[in-house]
Amino acid sequence: MDLHLLGSDTLAIAPLLLLLGVGLLIMLLDSFRVHASIPWLAGLGMLSAGAWAWLAGPSQSQVVFSGMMEAGGISPLVTLFLCLAGVFTVLFVPDYLARHDNKVNDVYALLVFAVLGMVLMANAHNLLMTFIGLETMSMCLYIFAALFKTDTRSNEAGLKYFLLGSFASAFLLFGIALVYGITGTLDLGELSTKITLLQENKALFYVASGLMLVGFLFKVAAFPFHNWTPDVYQGTPTPLAGFMATGSKMAAFVSLGIIIEKLELVSPAVDNRLATVLALTAFLTMVYGNLVAARQTNLKRMLAYSSIAHSGYVLLGLCAPVFGFQAILFYMFIYTLMNIGAFGLLGMAEQRMEDTDIESWKGLGKSSPYMAGAMAVFLFSLAGIPPLAGFMSKYQVFLSAIREDLVVLATIGILTSVVGAFYYLRVIFLMFFQTTEQPSTLNLRQKMAPATGIAVLVLLIILLGVFPSLILDPIRAAFSSDLVIEMASQP
């Protein structure tokens, strides 16, 4: 590598270094027992890293550090989205932990490191970096799952996630190793020039990309690899489960999307059975997630199954090259807002285990109308009901699928959304229209930070539902400046 480029390379990834610095500073402050300011520091650090990437990031797509990372193109936007996921999560965490007598401040350092890992993974330009980012992120998430040491559910969640997650990472790594075996490189730019070489070694390439796909599909909880999701989300502290369901999926989907674009995994020009595999997974995930979610009696488990269903919709978008990729970036951002909101609100109400049962939300519309109203907005948006943002994001994904003649899949997506609407609306019905003798036992204490978070998220969901171009236009602009993806998408 050219040493004289080191300065400009470092500047291009400055937001990453800021995140790293904030994480280390938090660890240091924690050892001096400076507790009160730590959540603020984490939040502000992530916010400024995201803003820095977005405002001062390189406008032209370029690779830095000997082709390890990508700067410019879509990466500033993705960095902003991932940092925002962290910021919104941190608003809900202190209150939740305080209520459960758990004052582990390392959580905030881990949260920052998790965001850093996600940014590394989503902006990687080398499969080695993808793997390191994935491991950084996963390591932090395993710890989140096991945070409550005296709670057996949390122990179960931690162990389950750790063992299965390591297994999935090994699959991904094996696939990456085979790709290296075929081509002799892990650089995504170089790999996209060696498509013919990959196609010549077809059998080996199928195994390699199949193994990589297994790793990714586990991380996004797609159908045959979804079994860990409800148990892990249930054992994880609720706001952190929301972060797990959104940030890690966004990073994994962006990374998978880039790999799919560059290796032309679903390109119609190349005869490739992987497109069929992806479409089939999308189909099964949508159907399974929605049908099983409809049978849940616990709100947290219902949201876990609904997050499986949402992964199905995103996979549907991945089946449609380029337009689908733009649509899923939009989708994942909106999904992040509404899901962190829903999990955050659930966390604010959660004091005992049975508080997450759907039954105990009965009649909440009377006792705390504002919070019930906010929950209704999140659930309406998750169901995809206009004019909320959840509708626009679903619309974009289905539109991109129809453009690529995936009409059958899009139809199934729409049909399963109807099933989805049923279980989201059931909760809203219980909250507002079910009369009970005694008012809801839920005690929604409205602390400043989480209440602000809920208000901002609700406003954003309504605003982006009415003016989706506020986010869609920057996404389109970022994609058109991303040279590598543009090149790969040319027939």
Binding site: S66, M68, D106, E135, M139, I143, A146, K149, L204
Partner: protein, 172 residues
């Protein structure tokens, strides 16, 4: 040249057979300590294979990390848990049967796929397995991932401390 190839072939077969013997020993020994020691044999044989490929650094790391650090950890755990002889390892139920069949199918599939690569002649002299080129690569082309791995280690360290720390009430 001829002699070198013969020696290499002999080394390959020796280490392969020993490595497989170690792996089989690990699976079929009911005593946990014997199983762990079989694993050491396997680790050393694989290190030998690396060495015969010219990957000196990898061989050294294999012995240091796996045969050294990880095995000590295993033996400590076995000692602390005071493990009894494992009984009923070979009971069979539907789940295990399914796992066995699927695993076997996967291995067969990989064999078929990799068949074309078995007879590949290794091209040229291996130079990248030595310590110097690896050190050079780590501090030039791979500088960024090399530094970033430290975050994984920090996160893992925090996690280990959080899980292992004594539970006191005020820290929850």
């Amino acid at each position: 040249m001829e002699a070198a190839t013969t020696i290499q072939t002999v080394l390959f077969w020796t280490f392969s057979v020993l490595g497989l013997a170690g792996a089989v020993g690990l699976l079929f020994n009911r005593n946990a300590v014997y199983a762990a020691l079989s694993l050491v044999l396997n680790f050393f044989s694989i290190a030998g294979l690396y060495l015969s490929l010219g990957a000196e650094f990898l061989a050294a790391v294999q012995i240091l990390v796996y045969a050294g650090a990880i095995m000590v950890l295993f033996l400590f755990v076995i000692m602390l848990l005071n493990m009894q002889e494992e009984k009923g390892v070979f009971t069979f139920d539907i789940r295990r049967g399914a796992a066995f069949i699927l695993g076997f199918a996967f291995v067969a599939e990989m064999m078929v796929v990799l068949k074309g690569f078995w007879n590949h002649e290794a091209g040229g002299e291996f130079t990248y397995g030595k310590v110097e080129p690896i050190g050079r690569a780590l501090l030039t082309d791979y500088l960024f991932p090399f530094e970033m791995i430290s975050i994984v280690l920090i996160a893992a360290l925090i996690g280990a401390i959080l899980v292992a720390r004594r539970h006191t009430h005020q820290e929850g």
